[in-house]
């Protein structure tokens, strides 16, 4: 069994050298007192790596083989998980990027992003608990009254309690407008009644309380998505001291038997089957969906990181196996095709990491940067998020599958643990908005709605990097990026034009466009790292780490970036075959 070791050198290189967090974030008022810079990076990521490697990684197989179970209205989680949860809380990781006003650490999202990658690489099923919890906390921080913040935030940020998101119902998935859960006013609170499905970490026995955020409809609410409100429904109602008191009428009915993430209890949740579940309105009436949207970018960034995390875990396992396994007299890592698979994994992982971390910085600046920059940075992050979520989770599937492939027959045997990465990551293309929805969001809301303005800004930034690459003599990278950029500019124009003529035709190409965009953006950010590395080498720094950075980017340029051409070709065809195909022919 190989273990997970967080790639600290790659992470620190990105944070400190490429993204220069000390300069870009360290100056912002929110972070000014933290001393953002290499020392902080080493301290934070080093601690995270220890927890991920020593505590979480050994639990990955445990959670898979001894899943959470549900019986008699309560979930029992996998052995070892409760203790790990306490350690995660003790380390202050639940609220790493949350405001220090309410028990958070107040670090930049960039550090939260690196930590999130580690937890997901070590054990994705476990990592979902702090993931959902911080989403619930962010919603309360953004929309709660001062009283609500005082009641719930510190407990969530310190990990003393966890939080959940209750959206989906059996008839309401991607379309939440038709949900059936009802909220009836009852003095200062509401009584919630209905059933929710796919509730991640919906119940467990690791913390004293669970704060459920629940979408429901008020009586006489408008039809559809404009008639949905958001409620805080604690598992235990708080007593006058703010401590968990009376048991609320919300219970897990069952846990799903899933393809993967077995350690994460995915619950059917019953609200108000008895006296009614007590809930408190969060934010305005009928503004529930809008409230959910405020935390969507963070959530989708994290799902993208799950794609990366699983792929990094799978990569490390595959490399270790390929060094050990001898066939034909040599370790299989020397076989050209095995090396291809490993380099595909490594270069795409580095590209995904570079993109995600870069956009965590964008997110930080959009929120805490100078007022003058916020609008543009918000437009950029809004554009980036569907790409990060969609592309990184698709790539995560490919790479975890390659991890199985490197193991040969051993990869197909569950005992090996390689297949688990593939099973676990498969959900990431589906939840938090399917990748089809991400593609539609990228095309419709992020591209067409502003006439391609935000995308043009990114194109300009890529062109600037391309020029730097050429100036630095990194010709292979410069040429590959130039071609991929030109193709993407063309695809963008084609799609904008096509969307005017036939929106459905454009929508049928949106997924391809999302993938083309991801490969381009990932390559761009990876090549920014190669620029920094090449500059260090030019400065005479003698560290093979930098040579490796350039070599990895070179592989990406030659083997991965050409994938952009596939999508570009389909989009250039302004294809009519999808729209004209009769549905009854399927």
């Amino acid at each position: 069994m190989s273990n997970y070791h967080a790639p600290l050198d790659d992470m620190a290189f990105l944070v400190d050298e490429v993204l220069a967090a000390g300069d870009t974030l360290g100056q912002l008022p929110r972070f000014a007192d933290l001393g953002v810079g290499p020392e902080l990076t080493a301290a934070v990521l080093g601690e995270g790596a220890k927890f991920a490697g020593d505590v979480l990684a050994p639990l990955r197989r445990v959670g898979d083989q001894q899943p959470a179970t549900c019986a008699d209205g309560a979930v029992t989680i996998s052995p070892g998980y409760a203790d790990a949860m306490r350690q995660l809380a003790a380390g202050g990781w639940f609220g790493i990027a949350a405001s220090a006003d309410h028990g958070g650490q107040g670090l930049p999202e960039l550090y939260g992003t690196a930590a999130c990658e580690m937890w997901n690489a070590a054990d994705m099923a476990f990592a979902l608990a702090p993931f959902l919890s911080s989403g619930a906390a962010l919603a309360i921080e953004s929309h709660g009254t001062e009283a609500q913040k005082a009641q719930y935030l510190e407990k969530l940020h310190t990990g003393e309690w966890t939080g959940t998101m209750n959206l989906t119902e059996s008839g309401a998935g991607s379309d939440l407008g038709v949900l059936k859960t009802r909220a009836e006013p009852q003095g200062d609170h509401y009584l919630i009644r209905g059933q929710k499905i796919y509730i991640t970490w919906g119940d467990h026995d690791a913390t004293d309380n669970i704060i459920h955020l629940v979408l429901a409809k008020l009586p006489d609410a408008p039809e559809g998505s404009r008639g949905i409100s958001l409620f805080i429904v604690p598992k235990f109602l708080l007593d006058e001291n703010g401590a968990p008191g009376k048991r609320n009428d919300v219970y897990p009915v069952s846990c799903e038997h899933k393809l993967g993430i077995h350690g994460s209890p995915t619950c059917v949740m019953a609200f108000g089957d008895n006296e009614g579940a007590v809930g408190y309105l969060l934010g305005e009436e009928n503004q529930g969906l809008a409230c959910m949207f405020t935390m969507m970018n963070e959530a989708r960034l994290k799902v993208g990181l799950q794609g990366l995390g699983a792929a990094e875990g799978a990569y490390q396992k595959a490399v270790a196996y390929a060094r050990e396994r001898v066939q034909g007299g040599v370790a299989i890592i020397q076989h050209a095709d095995v090396k291809r698979m490993l380099l595909t994994m490594r270069s795409l992982n580095e590209a995904m990491r570079a993109l995600a971390y870069s956009e965590a910085v964008t997110m930080d600046i959009a929120r805490y940067g100078p007022e003058s920059e916020r609008t543009a940075q918000q437009a950029r992050i809004d554009l980036m998020i569907p790409v990060i979520k969609g592309w990184m989770t698709e790539v995560g599937q490919e790479l975890t599958s390659l991890g199985v492939q490197v193991h040969g027959g051993m990869g197909y045997v569950e005992e090996t643990g390689a297949a688990q990465y593939l099973r676990d990551v498969r959900i990431t293309s589906i939840y938090e908005g399917t990748n089809g929805i991400q593609a539609g969001d990228l095309l419709g809301r992020k591209l067409v709605r502003d006439g391609g303005g935000a995308m043009e800004s990114v194109h300009d930034a890529i062109a600037a990097t391309q020029k730097e690459l050429a100036d630095a003599g990194l010709d292979v990278l410069a040429a590959a990026l130039a071609e991929a950029l030109a193709d993407h500019v063309q695809s963008t124009q084609n799609l904008l034009a096509l969307h005017g003529d036939s929106p459905e035709s454009a929508q049928g190409l949106a997924f391809d466009y999302m993938m083309q965009t991801g490969y381009l953006f990932g390559g761009w950010q990876l090549f920014r790292g190669a620029l920094v590395a090449a500059a260090r080498m030019n400065d005479g720094v003698d560290n093979p780490f930098y040579a490796r950075k350039v070599a990895t980017a070179r592989y990406y340029a030659q083997f991965i970036l050409p994938r952009c051409r596939a999508a570009a070709g389909a989009i250039a065809g302004a294809a009519d075959a999808l729209v004209s195909y009769r549905e009854d022919w399927l």
Copy 2:
């Protein structure tokens, strides 16, 4: 639960109209008395479809949820499997394409191919039993003495017994030269001692006997792959009447706990742990690997068909769900991105089927056609096999994953049965020669070794089809095929040149080339069908089936064929990044 219905109209269209089996195969002496033609097609495939849909398909979930188990040296298979095996035998399906001299049906491989697709679409785990059995029978037919043929063939062809292939050992997978199983001469037989792993259907309780074919080394055999011999090792030794008698010293030790194909017992097999397992030499001493190679093409074609079968099963399930599931007020089949996924599945399934069936005909002609044609047809099938195995199993993974995606969250819940297709098919890229080995075979043995001659013949055939498409006014198809062909000719020349300079660089691109080849070949054969359909429409035949054929090909031309550009781009770069990357950097 949706059921599997064999796509009889698509299959018959291919067999009778596109491949014109009555003309191409019906005239050959081997098949002359069978009356090959639409009536035979309808009868054979109709019966197969009934068995697949009514008997096998309902067992798919049973085998998955109640896997075969191994205890006390014996395997108990999943409920219902033994009865299904008897029905399969009673239908004559085990020996469908085997010589009538020894109890086979003597039908063309083309019909066996269609049947194989059906079994795998209905239940891949079950389908492995007749698959392995026919492989063992073919080896005995090709290399056995008359006495051996008389002893074993009829029982295998009628399905009274099954057969297995015992190759892999824990240290010997892709490299069989290092295997450790030993065979010691003992009068008219040998005593076999050793342990084999990953033995598909290695033991079971559904038939009276199991005929194991086992690779082992004789004392003083040459080193490596030239020192391997093949042995017949029956589970029960035959008595003087040829009936199963004394129990032989071969036992299953355990069954693997696998990602998928749970219904197929994958055994660790112990040979000769006690008195030694009695084995009989099959073929010449030290020629075991050569013997295995004679059935490799059939086996790899069938693994390709597993990719198609699983993808067709997944497609049917996904379409049924997409018609039912309403979101946003309409069935999701009307969402552009869902339609894209379903059309990707459908068009690629049709392309895979067209390619596989076409090459089943090539295989029939190479074996039973006019002497003058056999060499060329054999060269063609040798070229095609790694593409069919590698490309179709890779595509099978993509499409079964799309099947999950269409189901959204429901796809991730095992109860739905969509994820099983993905889990089951994942093995097909690994066994019977990993896809990396297929890619290397295509590049090294099939392309470089004859200087691209066999490939050039196929290029000529594609160019001829392209001209027909242009003449028929199918401009979109003609243009797309012309571009994909030109790209492929270029890739082929690039790779041949690169292989001369740097074989390892070429090997690092072999996988991409295999995929590029598959997309081209599949499109070519799919478009041949569109030509036939267009001609029928021109003849005034009023059948929407033909319009659908053209529309499906059109989708493939616009959305799928552009994928060729990705590989072409990587290959054109004559990439050096893989070779120059240091292994210790991985």
